[in-house]
């Protein structure tokens, strides 16, 4: 966390020095923070959804007769897992555009 904060500060400082414009510096820092927020937020759900779907496919291959139920449960799991990435995306929008 402190490393992240340091990076954001550094980017902000560098941007500020480069442009010598306070608003532009803040925007640049927000943009880089936004990218980082979304990038980090995508890691966990990416792994999670991959694992989830893999396991669901395995379950369906082992028991094709329960494929419908597994599919419904799979979509629910994807929905819950994906929410984290989407919150990251919203944070990205908030940081980048607001």
């Amino acid at each position: 966390m402190s490393t992240l904060s340091h990076i954001v500060h550094t980017v902000a400082q560098q941007a500020g020095e480069a442009t010598a414009d306070a608003d532009a510096a803040k925007n640049t820092a927000a943009a880089s923070g936004a990218g980082m927020a979304y990038g980090l937020a995508a890691i966990g759900p990416g792994i999670g959804i991959g694992y989830l779907v893999g396991q669901a496919v395995q379950a369906m291959a082992r028991q094709p007769e329960s494929a419908g139920q597994v599919q419904t449960t799979m979509f629910l799991g994807i929905a819950f897992t994906e929410a984290l990435a989407l919150i990251g995306f919203v944070v990205f929008i908030l940081l980048k555009f607001v």
Binding site: S2, K26, A29, V98
Partner: protein
């Protein structure tokens, strides 16, 4: 970090004074709400009931048709079984009738044959009897003739009238011996 980010965000928001793309706007909330509630009311009261009714009705009809088809199949099966049974009965009847007829014909034939045979036997018996009678008659005649001739011949031989009647037993005896020897 969060503090930094929020501070930056707040600063950015202050400086740019733009609308937030994440927050809803009042007019869209109002129209969205109005139209969704309208959709819900229409679905509830107007649109869905006839569709559901038709679907249920069709399900019931399909079910009824299936049952009717099943019944018709069972009936056809029953009719077929009856028909088969009747056919088998008719076949066995026919076989029985043919057998009876055959037996009757057999009996009749045997009877006819027996009658014919007995008639033939009777006729033959009669013919034989007649034959015997005729033969006996002929034999008698012949014997009488032979006796006459023999008596005449003997009369010629002995030069004396022989009585045919008194010599008759001799002749008969001889004839009988001849017949026996033959």
């Amino acid at each position: 970090m969060l503090a930094t980010l929020s501070a930056l965000t707040a600063a950015a928001a202050e400086t740019k004074e733009t609308v937030n793309p994440v927050l809803p706007t009042t007019n869209e909330i109002i129209y969205g709400g109005i139209f969704f509630v309208l959709l819900l009311i229409f679905m509830w009261a107007v649109c869905l009931p006839p569709i559901k009714k038709a679907m249920r009705q069709r399900d019931e009809q399909v079910q009824a048709d299936l049952e009717a088809a099943e019944r018709a199949r069972a009936e056809a099966e029953q009719v077929r079984r009856d028909y088969d049974a009747t056919l088998a009965e008719a076949r066995s009847d026919a076989a029985r009738i043919i057998e009876e007829a055959r037996q009757a014909a057999e009996a009749r034939r045997a009877e006819l044959i027996g009658a014919a045979e007995s008639e033939i036997a009777a006729q033959r018996q009669a013919a034989l009897a007649e034959l015997d009678a005729q033969r006996a008659a002929a034999l008698g005649d012949l014997t009488a003739e032979v006796a006459g001739i023999a008596t005449a011949a003997a009369s010629q031989v002995v030069q004396r009238e022989l009585d045919a009647v008194s010599q008759r037993p001799v002749v008969d005896d001889y004839v009988n011996q001849a017949i026996a020897a033959r």
